[in-house]
Symmetry: none
Subunit: 243 residues, 2 copies
């Protein structure tokens, strides 16, 4: 079964700017279903667009509702973000668990976020099957609305294939031991010529130290080639590196 994307429900949001930022946070992690319950300054709100920084599609598709119950009517699983349980007997889970659960749910999910200052009403939390609490610094709990949204969206996105990692080249595999030995041999020879090993009776221990240093670096074949060029350049100043 293919589930619809979870809905982000902002309940009585005050500032248009925060609605825009929430939209941006959603789209960063692939969410697009924004629902607004009784936004204080009406809708559309001219402050929302600039704050969305290009996430206009989320704002354009946003739906407005009068009550939380209306906003989540088509959803099968409702989560309420809050730091207070208010005596409700509802399981409390982390954003991480929420992100995982939503993908495993057997129907559409919605996550409720309260107004900037006042949060959700107890009656609104009671609509939810689970409470989501972001574990924050107990001495500084004031999590901004868009930041609460981004943490949930981020955790949700961890379980989505579309989460694309960094562009660019694959990492280079580590060089073989033979390549490493070649470089170490070259360096030992250069250091012998430079009369580095002194006193002689400590040479084996010194060589072991050098070997350890160069082995733990874990270089690729290309990096070992570069190091060999560097050693060559230092030993034969004026020589050109072979590329």
């Amino acid at each position: 079964m293919s589930l619809p994307l979870p809905a982000i429900v902002l309940v009585r949001p005050q500032l248009g700017e925060n609605i825009g930022k929430a939209a941006r946070a959603m789209l960063n992690f692939g969410l697009t279903d924004l629902r607004l319950v009784a936004p204080r300054d009406g809708w559309p709100n001219p402050s929302a667009g600039p704050a969305a920084s290009g996430a206009d599609i989320v704002l354009e598709k946003a739906k407005v509702f009068e009550t939380v119950a209306d906003a989540v009517a088509d959803c099968a699983h409702v989560y309420a973000t809050t730091v207070r349980k208010r005596g409700l007997v509802i399981p409390v889970i982390s954003p991480e668990q929420t992100g995982r659960e939503i993908h495993a749910n057997d129907g559409p999910s919605a996550i409720l976020f309260g107004a900037e200052r006042s949060g959700l009403e107890t009656e609104e939390v009671a609509l939810a099957g689970k409470i989501v609490t972001v574990p924050v610094n107990p001495d500084f709990r004031s999590l901004n609305l868009a930041q609460a949204v981004i943490l949930i969206a981020y955790e949700w996105s961890k379980h989505v294939e579309l989460a694309v990692p960094t562009e660019g080249e694959p990492e280079e595999p580590r060089a073989t031991q033979a390549h490493l030995e070649g470089m170490i041999g070259q360096l030992y020879a250069a250091l012998e010529d430079a009369h580095y090993f002194h006193p002689r009776d400590r040479t084996p221990a010194t060589k072991n130290t050098i070997r350890t240093i160069l082995t733990k670096a874990g270089w690729s074949t290309r990096e070992i080639q570069a190091m060999r060029g560097i050693i060559r350049a230092l030993v034969e100043p004026g020589g050109r590196p072979r590329s």
Copy 2:
């Protein structure tokens, strides 16, 4: 060993408001070590305080530096947040891995965040041992500065209570970035003398490669001392290593 809190390093941040929001995001998850590299509008910035929403202590303690190298000089592990690898051969990890790693590291960590629009310079990324990439929607990548900060801080905070030092023989702690810089500077100078950098227009790329090779090695202070002695010996044959 008790590690200091990781440093959040904002590189050339433009808006004071974003610095304030980053400070708020940090304190939400218990981070307080904010470092600013060449903030565009100077420091202190009157727009930062209101945006910090009470995280004033982070702003008051913020330190200002001229370069990234200065800002991370006392750190042993540097992470650069970016979405592009720019041809650098540096491992790329997720915020989740970053949060886990920082607790397991054998020295202080710093995480670099680039300017709002332009991000980090390639030379700045090359200072880092690892790249951190937040996997975002490929069609909408513009992650806001404070939101990038909060995701890293959030992942870090997940391990705050479980962070337990490993038993056993303590390994040598990794050298600080300043020690590493000293060796890299010595090698660059020696290679200049040896006319290694040729052609000249490829010098910055070559230097980045060398920096990456030496950073990823993860050497201890003692090992870096040994490497400096080796470079000296190759450059001045017949000289004795100072023990």
